[in-house]
């Protein structure tokens, strides 16, 4: 793996050190080592099954929930090992929120969808404070104007793009530092996609974002750094501009230009 391009110096938020992941006997990731900058968007690209989602799940220990899954190596967030025995995975997941491919609002009201996280984590000491968190989160997710008069309707009554932004609001509500997104736009139409991309541009001012995407153009538009995975290996990592204009490795080039390697 080679680091390409001049990455502007900035604070490292997440450090993956020799991370390997096994599902029973099958190795899904092979010694992944690279750093993710704070308050930047890093995109993970690569063919299906190359381990992007697996890697993303390492960053908030979602893999712990899969019995056959074993993670080796270290993931440091702000220089602290998130796999250390004293780390509570539930609290970790509040710091590292996740948005999935298919919008998955709870079958509850729009308000409750967003209020759920802050309530269970005890982030609000009063009803007013909770309401304040919900409204701010909806605003930050760019959804407030569209739903302010229907907060008690169910989340599933929204359009796909709105549901995805509701899930983003839900992730933001627990004041995470990092937001992981696994193909957040693949179920959305171009307009809803553009709105979510615009939102990502806005969110990155306050959060570190790691996004898995199958659209090269989307990676080029939203991210500052890009990591290319292939068959469980990290092939190339560098500035997005560099990866999409002059990639260093033939495998990267073949993948992003749609060639048969």
């Amino acid at each position: 793996m080679k680091k390409s391009g001049n990455l502007m110096s900035s604070k490292i938020k997440i450090s993956s050190k020799d991370v390997s992941v096994f599902y029973s006997q099958n190795k899904a990731l092979n010694n992944i080592t690279f750093d993710i900058d704070e308050k930047k968007v890093t995109s993970l690209i690569g063919p299906s099954g190359c381990g992007k989602s697996t890697f993303l799940r390492c960053l908030n220990r979602m893999n712990d929930t899969i019995d056959i899954c074993k993670v080796k190596g270290k993931v440091l967030i702000d220089n602290e090992d998130i796999y250390a025995p004293n780390v509570d995975p539930v609290l970790l997941r509040a710091r590292v929120g996740m948005v999935f491919q298919k919008p998955n609002p709870f079958p509850k009201s729009i308000f409750d969808n967003v209020a759920y996280g802050p309530s269970i984590h005890g982030l609000a000491s009063s009803k007013d404070e909770l309401e304040n968190i919900v409204l701010t989160s909806l605003q930050r997710a760019g959804l407030y104007k569209e739903v302010k008069n229907r907060l008690s309707e169910t989340g599933t009554s929204l359009s796909g793009g709105q549901q995805q932004r509701l899930c983003i609001a839900r992730a933001i509500a627990v004041s995470p530092e990092i937001i992981l997104m696994d193909e957040p736009c693949s179920a959305l139409d171009p307009i809803a996609t553009a709105i979510v991309e615009e939102l990502i541009d806005e969110l990155v001012k306050n959060y570190t974002i790691v996004i898995v995407t199958h659209s090269m153009q989307q990676a080029a538009r939203v991210s500052q750094n890009t990591a290319f995975f292939h068959m469980g290996n990290l092939i190339e990592f560098g500035s997005t501009q560099k990866i999409f204009s002059t990639p260093q490795f033939k495998q990267t080039q073949d993948y992003i230009t749609g060639k048969i390697g």
Binding site: M216, Q217, S245, T246, I256, T257, I260
Partner: protein
């Protein structure tokens, strides 16, 4: 060359290349005819030159349209994207070379009678070097050759020297024979047009390097 998964994408890129090479052939012909005019003064070919100029203009338009369309359809990245951007730039450079070639022909037409004491063929030789370099630049494009593209830049330095020699030589001629100043002035302008074509060939070569290596030199 590795193939794209979508075959018609390869066809699009291949077709753009063919269009450029065809346009290049038109330019080699046009520049050659203009330079031969310097020596032969056979003004009968002027209509052919004007007709070729029109073909050159529409060739550029065609390349621009096809390339734009391919950009829209394929949203190319990396080397593919560079290839298309470079095609558009080379087509526009070739079109400008065409303008200079036509200017040369027009100036010969205006210059009319060659002074009897005009014995030098330095401008014709300058023209020969320029056309050789144009041909080399187009081959560099066809073969994606960094070596050839570097040669083009080296040759252009020699062309610049040849141009300066022509220039001084014609200044002396003007001073010695002031009855034919207008003829010599046309010749000086022609030398300048040739020198410009030389520079444009160098630009084509630079685009080839960018297309192959991804570095802007």
């Amino acid at each position: 060359m590795d193939k794209h998964i979508v075959t018609s994408y390869d066809n699009d890129l291949e077709y753009i290349k063919i269009l450029i090479i065809e346009m290049g052939v038109l330019l080699e012909k046009q520049t050659f005819e203009a330079i031969e005019l310097i020596k032969l003064h056979n003004l009968k070919i002027m209509p052919t030159i004007r007709e070729t100029e029109k073909k050159i203009n529409s060739a550029e338009k065609r390349i621009r349209e096809y390339s734009t369309n391919t950009l829209t359809k394929r949203q190319p990245l990396a080397d593919d994207l560079r290839k298309i951007i470079v095609s558009i730039k080379i087509a526009s450079t070739l079109e400008r070379i065409g303008d200079h070639a036509e200017n040369i022909a027009n100036r010969i037409e205006q210059a009319k009678i060659v002074p009897t004491n005009y014995l030098t063929d330095s401008i014709y030789r300058l023209g020969q070097s320029v056309i050789k370099n144009l041909s080399q630049a187009l081959t560099a494009y066809d073969q994606n050759s960094i070596t050839l593209s570097k040669n083009v830049s080296l040759e252009d330095k020699k062309i610049d020297l040849l141009y300066e020699t022509c220039f001084r030589e014609h200044l002396v001629l003007m001073m010695e024979d002031n009855k034919n100043i207008s003829y010599f002035t046309q010749m000086l302008f022609i030398a300048k047009e040739l020198e410009r074509i030389g520079d444009l060939c160098k630009n084509i070569a630079k685009e080839v390097s960018y297309s192959v290596e991804g570095k802007i030199s």
